[in-house]
């Protein structure tokens, strides 16, 4: 198959006849792929598993992504450019806020602009971009999907087709003050009740400390934290069948944990204004005993330049739950090919290059972003450098993905509304969940 495509893409001027031959060759490839590619008995004309005919065209492309804070993405792109001087990739840096990244990508897609070639999508955007056909379906057999963590691959799929390939993942971890827990002879908690007990013991000597915080400001982070609480209590927000099922006793217990936490002071009142960074400042200032946070905090909180008062004094554990270990919400980013770029073959090859073990290892080393390549989590050398990797792997493997729905933004807003109003004490948790269930049913009905 690759040889066929190579023929089709030689950059030589062609006559009409050879164009026809080329088209025929592509058609032949398409037919072969449809026939032998998936071995699926169900015929899917025109929308086969691979749709290889759509992914051609080589030349310069762009990579639209959030801020390249570490500068490592540029390094990786430089490496690609050295190998493929005729298919240069240029990074288009989008704003730091995920909402604004999405807005720019959506606006470009709505204008059918080819300004962005490869899109670095947040895992929750896949459904919206795929349903709008702003990104193209990718041939699954072209990627080493079996080498990636299965949970992450699922986030790139929509209606059983692969639309995006995961390059980084993310899972929540429980950061805890090891020095304080050791002082009272406690092990990291497995349940919320244990966490509360430990807090009480620790606070007996350190009354000024706060027990627990996550991301509770009214934004995407609250959706993440609410879903985690619900999942950790054995409930679901949106079930496997895509149907919302949040008005359940399990979900109520999850929400109750957050509501009670605020009421009892176990979650400090300020935490209701925390996004990632506010919470990180509080943890680094030594104000928190437990903190639910992404892996990126590990390196920053361990910085020995004086910016963190807790350097060397903390460790991580899996998130606690109601009766046992909790379930994280899955984060991370996937690469997808814009439907409007003319150079889709280059985009595809570039994604293959970036998702490869070598690049993922380099990215982990440089940015401490969670890789999707499963083997990296068991690499002794890496584990030594990033001691949280085993916990992170467990967190990601057990993680639940957020609802994969086209109207994700509205779904997330409804979830935030319910969680926020319950946590502020305005609405009773049961009422909040009942309202949420009605809203989600409206939003997911098609």
């Amino acid at each position: 198959m690759p040889t066929h495509r190579a023929v089709g893409t030689t950059p030589v001027r062609k006559t009409h006849r050879s164009t026809a031959i080329r088209l025929a060759a592509i058609a032949a490839v398409a037919v072969t792929a449809a026939a032998c590619g998936s071995g699926d008995p169900a015929p899917a004309p025109g929308a086969g598993n691979g749709t290889p005919a759509a992914l051609e065209g080589v030349g310069p492309i762009t990579l639209a992504s959030g801020k390249d804070t570490s500068g490592n993405m540029q390094k990786q792109v430089d490496e690609w450019n050295k190998l493929h001087p005729d298919q240069k990739v240029t990074i288009v840096e989008l704003p730091e806020s995920a909402d604004q990244q999405r807005q720019q990508m959506v606006q470009n897609a709505q204008a059918q602009s080819d300004a962005y070639g490869v899109l670095n999508l947040d895992v929750v955007w896949t459904a919206e971009f795929a349903a709008n056909q702003w990104i193209v379906a990718l041939p699954e057999n072209e990627f080493p999907l079996d080498k990636l963590l299965p949970a992450t691959v699922e986030t790139g799929k929509y209606f059983n087709k692969l639309y995006a390939v995961p390059t980084t993942s993310d899972g929540g971890l429980l950061y805890y003050r090891k020095d304080l827990l050791d002082a009272v002879g406690a092990q990291p908690p497995k349940t919320w009740a244990e966490m509360q007990e430990i807090c009480e013991k620790v606070k007996a000597d350190n009354a000024s400390l706060d027990c627990y915080a996550g991301q509770f400001e009214k934004y995407e982070g609250l959706t993440v934290n609410f879903s985690e609480a619900v999942n950790s209590a054995g409930g679901v927000v949106v079930g496997e069948d895509g149907k919302p099922n949040v008005n359940t006793p399990e979900a109520a217990k999850g929400l109750q944990f957050l509501v009670d936490g605020v009421k009892s002071g176990m979650i400090p009142a300020e935490a209701r204004t925390y996004k990632e960074e506010e919470g990180r400042r509080a943890f680094q200032a030594g104000e928190l005993i437990f903190h639910r946070q992404w892996p990126y905090q590990y390196a920053l909180a361990n910085a020995s330049d004086g910016s963190s008062k807790v350097a060397g004094k903390f460790a991580v554990a899996p998130l606690p739950g109601l009766d046992g270990p909790g379930a994280s919400t899955l984060g991370g980013h996937n690469y997808a090919v814009s439907a409007f770029t003319p150079n889709k073959k280059t985009a595809l090859d570039f994604i293959k290059f970036m998702v490869d073990e070598k690049q993922q290892r380099a990215n982990l080393m440089a940015t401490s972003q969670a890789p999707t390549w499963a083997a990296l989590y068991d690499d002794a050398e890496l584990v030594e450098q990033f001691p949280y990797l085993p916990f992170l792997k467990a967190s990601i493997e057990n993680a639940q993905k957020r609802p994969s729905v086209v109207k994700y933004q509205e779904v997330s807003t409804a979830i935030q509304e319910a969680a926020y109003s319950a946590m502020s004490g305005e609405v009773a948790p049961a009422d909040a969940l009942a309202t949420l269930q009605t809203k989600l049913e409206q939003l997911t009905a098609s």
């Binding site: 929308a47 709008n132 087709k161 009214k218």
Partner: protein
């Protein structure tokens, strides 16, 4: 104007400027000279307004193909449904709440800004050492971009910020929701735009003749009496224009609530925030247009009532007549 248009057409339109033929063809020439402006205005003002109004009667279809999950695209005409939705059900609650916020922000913030702004103008008008410095420093907030000001105030109002250090008692969650959030926006907006009123009022103060004040002094008027009977009536035209501008501006307030508190908060969502969320975040351009059209009508009504009731002299008709 009427005499110009009605002037007889001169047979020599190309006559040199000082001659009597200068008036000839002036109307036509004026139309020609103005036409580029009119075309630009039609493109950047008329077209978007008409387009937004049209959009307000449509709704994007949101069905997906059950086999492939692909969105079935297309707009459907829904008549006045988008407008009805603003007053019923869930969306109705949100809209009416936003409308209330918009109105209370306008009344309270502009009220405070008038008081603070007039005081600033009186200070800036005084002759004293370092006046230039005071004038410049008073105007600084007005020169700061609002979105940046919103972020700066967010730092001040965050849980461990300066505002909570100044206020005794348990920390107030200014940026969360509820009355403190509303107050935070009012404070930031007053800080931001009182200088604007101060600037326009200062311009009004500077044209008041000193003789009036001297006469008042000779008659033994107290400073208080002088302010109410002389200063205020004489700066009223300038003040009214400034207030009208501020009202129109505050009614479409977006950046402060959005950057300082964040969207989705009941206490601070304005109609513009709602429209932005619907359009940019949810992609419901029809509903967003309906919100914008409703706000457009609201703003136009307020401006009309304000001009009619208080006689704000926006286009300078008063001054023209006096001359």
């Amino acid at each position: 104007m009427t005499t110009m248009v009605g002037a007889p057409v001169d047979p020599k339109p190309d006559a040199t400027p000082p001659g009597p033929g200068r008036r000839a063809g002036v109307g036509r020439l004026a139309a020609l000279l103005v036409s580029p402006t009119l075309i630009v205005l039609a493109l950047v003002v008329a077209y978007p307004i008409i387009s937004a109004v049209r959009l307000a009667f449509y709704r994007q279809s949101d069905g997906i193909d059950p086999q492939t999950g692909i969105l079935i695209k297309g707009d459907e005409f829904v008549g006045l449904d988008n407008f009805f939705d603003m007053f019923r059900g869930d969306t109705g609650d949100r809209f009416l709440n936003a409308l209330l916020n918009t109105t209370t922000f306008t009344v309270v913030a502009v009220g405070l800004e008038i008081i603070v702004g007039v005081l600033m103008a009186l200070v800036m008008h005084r002759a004293f050492r370092g006046r230039a410095l005071v004038r410049a420093s008073i105007l600084v907030p007005w020169a700061v971009p609002t979105a940046i000001a919103g972020l700066l105030w967010r730092w001040i109002f965050q849980a461990d910020g300066v505002a909570n250090d100044l206020v005794p008692g348990a920390p107030i969650l200014w940026t969360a929701d509820g009355p403190p959030a509303w107050l935070a926006v009012v404070i930031a907006d007053t800080w931001k735009t009182a200088p604007f009123i101060g600037l326009l009022v200062l311009a009004g103060l500077q044209v008041i003749s000193n003789e009036v004040y001297e006469a008042a002094k000779l008659d033994g008027a107290t400073p208080w009496k002088t302010f109410w009977s002389i200063t205020l009536p004489l700066v009223k035209p300038a003040l009214l224009v400034a207030v009208l501008f501020r009202i129109l501006d505050t009614l479409r307030m977006f950046d402060l609530p959005y950057t300082l508190i964040g969207p989705g908060k009941d206490a601070t969502d304005t109609v513009t925030v709602l429209a932005f969320e619907e359009a940019v975040k949810f992609g419901n351009y029809g509903q967003a247009s309906a919100y914008s059209v409703a706000l457009f009508i609201y703003v136009a009504t307020v401006a009309f009532v304000f001009v009619k009731l208080l006689g704000a002299d926006v286009i300078g008709a008063q001054r023209g007549r006096k001359r």
